[in-house]
């Protein structure tokens, strides 16, 4: 029972193949991680899956439907949501408003009803707010609800982004480096949160640099190098795969 399947996805920038012929699939409740050295094309792959970039080749299939290059707002309607490596929160809105924004699809009605503040609009807004407060509690941000999002710490913002994404009740959640820039405690919090979300039946696709975290929580790992998939499997087999070790060592040698 595959929920999200990636079939031969590829893209070139100015003649350079950033991602080439990558395929894998994700099942409900499963945590699949995409790893690879810097510049391996992980975020580019994410941007293609989530409709931010238009793939040059290949397909993205969500729940049996071809959703390749579909605009992100339509993907959201079909149950796919993502977070961003470089944090995309609504800075000048409150933490609560940020989370309510995640309820947009359930909350939004006709614009005239919103203008006139009709009972239907008020009821939907109340429901969204109640749900958002619940979610903030779940990610441990309930006490910051009325604060402006821009004033939060980095780790809190990461959790806020996850809360906002969870508000959509997604079937597939794409997390782009959710623990980047977080300290050990924050990383562990996010770690638990992800496991919890997966346990509730959400398919999770993860890009992460923190190798310990990846090995700990992933069911399945896809390894990219220079835009190509070089290995795939469970954490134990991937960590022993010679091609993977070579890729990482090569990268480290190059960096050193």
């Amino acid at each position: 029972m595959t929920l999200l399947s990636i079939e031969g996805l590829g893209i070139s920038f100015g003649g350079l193949k950033a991602v080439n012929d990558v395929s894998f699939s994700v099942k409900p409740g499963e945590i699949v991680s995409v790893i690879g050295p810097n510049g391996a094309g992980k975020t580019t792959l994410f941007n293609m899956i989530s409709g931010v970039y238009q793939p040059g080749s290949g397909k993205v299939i969500l729940n049996g439907e071809d959703v390749t290059a579909m605009s992100p707002h339509l993907l959201a309607r079909r149950g796919m949501c993502r977070t961003f490596q470089n944090l995309q929160v609504f800075q000048s809105m409150t933490v609560l408003e940020n989370t309510i924004a995640g309820y947009h699809l359930q909350e939004s009605g006709h614009v005239l009803s919103d203008l006139l503040n009709l009972p239907a609009s008020r009821r939907r807004a109340r429901e969204a707010e109640a749900g958002a407060r619940e979610l903030l509690k779940r990610v441990g941000l309930e006490r910051a609800a009325e604060r402006e999002a821009g004033s939060l710490s980095y780790g809190s913002l990461k959790r806020l982004e996850i809360a906002r994404a969870m508000a959509l009740k997604p079937k597939v959640l794409l997390l782009d480096e959710p623990a980047a820039g977080c300290n050990a405690v924050e990383t562990e919090e996010i770690d638990h949160l992800i496991a919890e979300i997966a346990a509730s039946g959400v398919a999770i696709l993860l890009v992460e640099h923190d190798m310990k975290m990846v090995m700990r929580i992933s069911n399945h790992i896809v390894v990219l190098d220079h835009g190509e998939k070089i290995a795939e499997g469970d954490p134990a087999s991937v960590s022993q795969n010679p091609a993977v070790i070579a890729a990482y060592l090569g990268a480290e040698n190059a960096a050193g």
Binding site: P72, H73, Q88, V89, Q91, S92, A101, S121, R164, A167
Partner: protein, 316 residues
Amino acid sequence: MTPKNATLLALAILIALSPIFFPSSFYYRVGALIFVNALAVTGIVILTGWAGQISLGHAGFAGIGAYACALAPVHLGLHPALAVLLGALISAVLAWLVGRPILRLKGYYLAVASLGMGILISMVLNNERDLTRGPDGIDVPELGLRALLKDAGLDLSNGQFWYFFCGIVLILGAWLALNLRDSATGRALRALHGSEVAAKTVGMDVARLKLQAFVISAVYASISGSLLALQNKFITPDVAGFMHSVEMVTMAVLGGVGSVAGAIFGAAVLTLLPQVLTVFAEYEQLVLGLVMVLVMIFLREGVVPSILRKIRGRGE
């Protein structure tokens, strides 16, 4: 009390009690002008402050609203009140047609396209003399509401009537805008202003939302133009001119482009200034330009939100 109700209450009290301090009946007229401008600027707050889009041609919509009141009663036999609605409808449709393809593109394209659209409207109003009588202007029929009120036993002077009538329309406009602000639509507008890509990932149809903001703000400008025409009983193509568009944006920027209270404050200051300082006319462009640049660099939120922040900061 919610901030929304506090703003509305303060506005209502201000409108009701200000006449006590008027040195002469002339100030009823100034007050009515402030309300008319503030209404248009409230539309700019929705478009620019919340949705983050900028129009440099909103006076074009005011022109449509104004000339609808001048022409529709004469040529179509419509009651002036219906002419206001007709103008608003035409403005909405035009905004929709122009905005639909353009709001998919980068921010400054709307600025350029709306600037062109505004100038085109003002050009038509100036050149189609057979219909609009050209640059000399045209008479506008009576709304007739004051006579009705008089029959009902409420005898207001012309100045008083328009002062309170425009004041009530402004409160209504502010109420609608503040409703919108905290609704799903308003939140989505402010969200896409913050991060378009994040707004999309939570399912917001960004192009459609911007279009809604553009259409709503066009209707505000149109009704503001209609009210101006009806109270002056006369209108010239200047109402649709580029400088009027610039005035609207400057008023919004000065008061605080994200705040309805700020919009009203900005409109009040920049409407009063030329009335109090007669030399102002000569320096108008200089001052408007300076205000836009200085506020954008030093006080990006505008005067009112900056003051509110100070007060709140001290309270905590």
